[in-house]
């Protein structure tokens, strides 16, 4: 940073010594000081001088594209044609492509094949028996890896049956069976296209960026508009959400294929198609499977949100219970999603590392599975228990959770309330006041200055225009709520996560425990966090804060841990030999060297916090997430998209600034990696 070298021209020695102690950081302190002064005086200025614009962005200056967008979508649905076909026909064609296979999957797993329509329909072929499904997935586990995996997966599916989640889980599974292959196919195609053509890549990168940063709620509205309420809309939203990583990973893994292998393909005269499908894709298989795994996990993440526009299944159960504050049922359905997630995650990971050719599909196993399917099918007509898991053998833990929560509430209400008030008054509200009192224009200018310091003109312009957009569309106050909630949560997540990461990097046993906890936190769908927190703290900012911290904690821990472990062992030895105490070693050597990684962790933490923020709108925060949620409820396309864009822009501003900071930290500490 060039600002480091501009020594402050202080006339008094006192100032000079202060600036020396602050080092290169003095402009940052000046900036903070100005911010504090402006925040403290903005009320005065606004009221005494009558300069309302000084503090709040004036309403008269608002130019929101929300109405235009709403009108445009209406026009698309009602009138737009592309010459040969109309837009509606286009969306119907997509529906058709998705609906048919989804119908079959559902018929096989849930409904059975029907004759006739509606209530009078007769089931001519029943769905697969629960026993057949369990045997089938266990066989897949055996095929992918070993008997242990088979047992684990069978147990997880048996859990679904025993805890009475079977029907819902099969609905969810059938949407996964459709969404994942389509998402993988589209992502693979797009990834290959970007690998082959620089132009496609230039076009697709910003689109993928936006798809990943814009909160899902924002595009639920237009999707609802185009496809109507139902499983097709839900699948479409799931695919949009889950596909981008596949595209990125595909491009990356194809680039990662050793150049020798590419030259070899050229040398033996491969056609373009042979090159792609015979040489590149098989060689990059391990990387591609990581992408498939990502698609599966993200699709499961969408399960609950997608149920808002008609997905049904486990997601719907969770959402219903959340609305009725029925913690027991909600947790059970949530855990069922987790069980499904773990089973599918392990299965896809096993296929990723599978020893190719070591075990070819054994014919005996397929015969056994086939026999079980036929036998259960036949027996199902005779014995009801084979067709459906007998309810009398079901177990439920719902009442246990309900009792636990009410017991805590009865006995510890005061304690919980005290903690809540302490954190709110001592930490959250002051930050909130500071953020809301700081004049809007100072945010634009200040962020621009930070952008300039980290990345010169281009970054400054990007940051300033994105920030100004939020003010222009009149969502400034909502945005500040978002930034405030996000900031307090991220600060706390980092304060907890970084030390945990440091600890895990230094202590083998701690790392094992922390690893398990972090893995679990990441597989849980975000909604599941909300349920117990709401029960304990009721709706409000504090509840949202806790849920966000829990959800966003993982990357803070993981990146710190990774960053410290990656430090060259020789550097640590050199520092030890020159007499560093463990404390000096950590603060003078390890943390600075791990700084770029930690900053990346910060970045990820912010992204996760923002995505969770939208979901916490359900518990009544007053931020942009609420705005998006309201738009969803009112089916107001423009409003939802504009608010969604604002959230995406906050994410992009944070991402660009932190990425620039990480780059400059890397230049300073690890020039060899630049």
């Amino acid at each position: 940073m060039s600002t480091r070298n501009d020594s402050p021209v202080g006339s008094s020695g006192n100032l000079r010594s202060i600036s020396r102690r602050l080092g290169g950081a003095w402009p940052w302190f000046v900036g903070l000081f100005v911010t504090a002064v402006l925040a403290a005086t903005s009320d005065d200025v606004a009221s005494r001088r009558g300069w309302v614009w000084w503090r709040d962005y004036p309403e008269g200056w608002v130019r929101s594209p929300a109405d235009v967008i709403s009108r445009a979508t209406k026009w698309l649905v009602n009138e737009a044609t592309f010459g040969l076909f109309s837009f509606t026909q286009f969306t119907r064609a997509i529906s058709f492509v998705i609906e048919r296979p989804y119908g079959w999957a559902r018929a096989i797993l849930v409904d059975g094949f029907m004759d006739g329509v509606g209530r009078r329909a007769d089931q001519i072929v029943p769905p697969l028996s629960w026993i057949a499904v369990i045997v089938l997935v266990a066989a897949l586990g055996r095929h992918a890896s070993n008997r242990r995996l088979a047992v684990l997966i069978a147990a997880l599916f048996a859990y679904l049956a025993v805890f009475g989640q079977w029907a819902s889980a099969m609905v969810t599974l059938s949407s996964m069976v459709i969404a994942v292959p389509i998402g993988v196919a589209i992502g693979l195609g797009l990834g290959i296209a970007s690998y082959r053509s620089a132009r496609v890549e230039r076009l697709s990168t910003p689109v993928l960026d936006l798809m990943q940063t814009i909160p899902t709620f924002a595009y639920l509205v237009p999707i609802l508009f185009f496809f109507g309420f139902g499983p097709v809309a839900a699948l479409f939203a799931t695919i949009i959400y889950a596909m981008p990583p596949m595209a990125r990973i595909t491009t990356l893994s194809l680039r990662g294929v050793p150049s020798d292998i590419k030259d070899f393909g050229e040398m033996i005269g491969c056609s373009t198609r042979q090159m792609t499908w015979r040489v590149l894709v098989p060689t990059a298989k391990a990387g591609l499977m990581v992408g498939v795994n990502q698609v599966i996990m993200l699709s499961l993440n969408m399960v609950i949100i997608a149920s808002m526009i008609g997905a049904g299944g486990l997601g719907f159960d969770v959402l219903e219970s959340l609305r009725r504050l029925d913690i027991g049922r909600g947790l059970e359905a949530g855990l069922a999603i987790v069980a499904l997630a773990i089973a599918l995650d392990r299965l896809s990971q096993a296929y990723a590392v599978r020893d190719t050719g070591a075990v070819r599909a054994s014919r005996r196993a397929s015969l056994v599975v086939g026999a079980v399917v036929v036998a259960t099918f036949a027996l199902g007509y005779v014995i009801e228990a084979v067709r459906n898991y007998p309810a009398s053998l079901g177990v439920t833990s719902g009442s246990f959770w309900d009792d636990l929560i009410s017991w805590i509430n009865v006995n510890y209400y005061d304690t919980l309330e005290a903690i809540k008030l302490f954190v709110l008054d001592g930490f959250m509200l002051p930050v909130k006041r500071l953020f809301l009192a700081t004049p809007w224009w100072w945010w634009v200018v200040g962020l621009g200055a930070v952008g300039w310091a980290l990345g010169r003109v281009r970054l400054a312009i990007t940051v300033m225009s994105l920030t100004a957009f939020i003010a222009l569309v009149g969502l400034w106050e909502f945005a500040m709520f978002t930034v405030y909630l996000c900031s307090v949560s991220v600060i706390v997540a980092m304060l907890i996560g970084v030390p945990l990461g440091v600890w895990a990097a230094h202590n083998e046993r701690a790392s094992r425990v922390i690893g398990v906890v972090i893995d679990t936190l990441q597989t849980l769908p975000s909604f599941v966090y909300l349920i117990p927190v709401v029960m304990l703290f009721r709706v409000g900012d504090f509840t949202a804060f806790i849920a966000i911290v829990l959800y966003a904690l993982a990357p803070a821990v993981r990146y710190t841990w990774h960053g410290i472990r990656e430090i060259d062992a020789q550097v640590v030895e050199a520092a030890t030999v020159s007499g560093c105490t463990p404390r000096q070693l950590l603060t003078r050597v390890k943390l600075p060297l791990a700084l770029p990684e930690i900053l990346l962790g910060l970045n990820q933490t912010i992204m996760l916090a923002l995505s969770m923020l939208v979901i916490t709108a359900l518990v009544g925060t007053r931020d942009l997430g609420q705005e998006v949620y309201v738009a969803l409820v009112k089916a107001s396309t423009g409003r939802g998209i504009v608010a969604g864009l604002c959230i995406a822009f906050i994410a992009i501003v944070a991402d660009r600034l932190i990425a620039a900071a990480a780059r400059s930290a890397r230049e300073r500490y690890r020039p060899e990696q630049v």
Partner: protein, 361 residues
């Protein structure tokens, strides 16, 4: 006659046969970076290293001329980063030249359409890679058969051919192994078998043994010499190891900073180095292993030798191979050519000075 000697003789014979140019490269330039072609054209097709550097381009190949004769083993030798691998990729048009022309059997590669080029590579070229470049998801058998599969041959045909080649490179019994289950040397044997599957007319080897341990490397060099005699193909071999070059080459091109400094037989490189760089390079090589009798003998058709020494050495034998015989003789020995007529004599002093490696330094 031991194996090495036979091979050495073979090499020389080949050189005598190979008088038709197979692969010719004229005025080849390869510069990396945007606008390289315009840059070179603006300078009338030539540029110094400094000029290239200031233009922000990276030079890989500069004004290279070479003609590989049919059936010869042409070795390109240079230190890492000298552009030799890029040159090899230009010869097969995997990398497009910035300027210049490459002809194979008189056909300009640059004028070929994509389809013609694909066809040419499928049937006439084979390449061995430094890091093997085996496909990890295929077995040894499938890897070797892969080029044939790309050509669209029938399964039976390609399996038969692949099995045959696997046998030739000594990997019989490992057909169903996967690459990662093999050692580096074995993997490269697969790579070699694969490159020979299509019976190539031109065989490119890009530092094929550099990634192997010294012992395995020497074993693989033997293997290479054996295969060279089995398959009569034209060979372009890239290496950074001068010992390897001398051992395997009929001719060597020494490359530095993208330019070829000298192209000659190993012997001539030692006897008449083009400049101090080549001289410095070749100094380490034991001369007795490279120099032939012909290059140091006293040439004369009527040689008076004492009747006691009736031993005869061949004119194309290496000094190290005849040293014992010459030193054991009481006087100069006669030197005969391949038809048996005497062409000169070789005395003990000459042999000793070659063995003792006394050179003007």
């Amino acid at each position: 006659m031991d194996d090495r000697k036979r091979v050495a003789l073979e090499g020389v014979d080949r050189r005598l046969i190979g008088s038709t140019p197979k692969l010719v490269c004229e005025g080849a330039w390869k510069l990396f970076g945007p606008g390289a072609e315009e840059f070179l054209n603006a300078r009338g097709g030539t540029a110094t290293l400094d000029e290239i550097g200031t233009a922000g381009l990276v030079s890989a190949v500069r004004n290279v001329d070479l003609a590989v004769q049919a059936g010869e083993s042409f070795v390109v030798m240079g230190l890492s980063g000298c552009g030799k691998s890029t040159l090899l990729r230009c010869l097969s048009r995997i990398t497009e030249l910035t300027a210049g022309r490459i002809t194979l059997d008189g056909r300009d590669l640059g004028s070929l359409s994509r389809d013609e080029l694909v066809d040419l590579r499928r049937h006439k070229m084979g390449m061995v890679f430094q890091h093997f470049a085996l496909l990890p998801h295929l077995t040894v058998l499938e890897n070797v058969a892969f080029p044939l599969r790309i050509q669209g041959r029938t399964a039976a045909e390609r399996e038969a051919r692949a099995r045959e080649l696997i046998e030739v490179v000594g990997l019989g019994g490992r057909e169903q192994h996967f690459p990662r289950q093999l050692s580096g040397g074995q993997q490269q044997r697969v790579g070699i078998a694969r490159s020979l599957a299509v019976n190539p007319e031109v065989w490119f080897l890009d530092e094929p043994f550099s990634a192997l341990d010294p012992l395995i490397r020497s074993e693989m060099q033997e293997e290479f010499l054996r295969l060279r005699n089995m398959f009569s193909t034209t060979i372009v071999f890239i290496t950074h190891d001068l010992d390897e070059a001398v051992r395997l080459a009929t001719r060597i091109a020494i490359m530095r900073d993208g330019e070829i400094i000298q192209t000659d037989t190993p012997e001539q490189l030692i006897l008449r180095p083009a400049n101090s760089y080549v001289e410095e390079f070749t100094r380490r090589i034991p001369r007795a292993k490279v120099l032939t009798v012909g290059s140091v003998m006293r040439a004369s058709t009527n040689v008076e030798t004492r009747p006691s020494s009736d031993s005869v050495v061949r004119v194309d034998a290496k000094i190290c191979d005849v040293a014992a015989a010459v030193l054991a003789a009481t006087g100069p020995v006669r030197v005969a050519n391949s038809t048996g007529s005497v062409v000169g004599s070789l005395d003990r002093e000459t042999v000793i000075s070659v063995l003792a490696d006394t050179r003007s330094r």
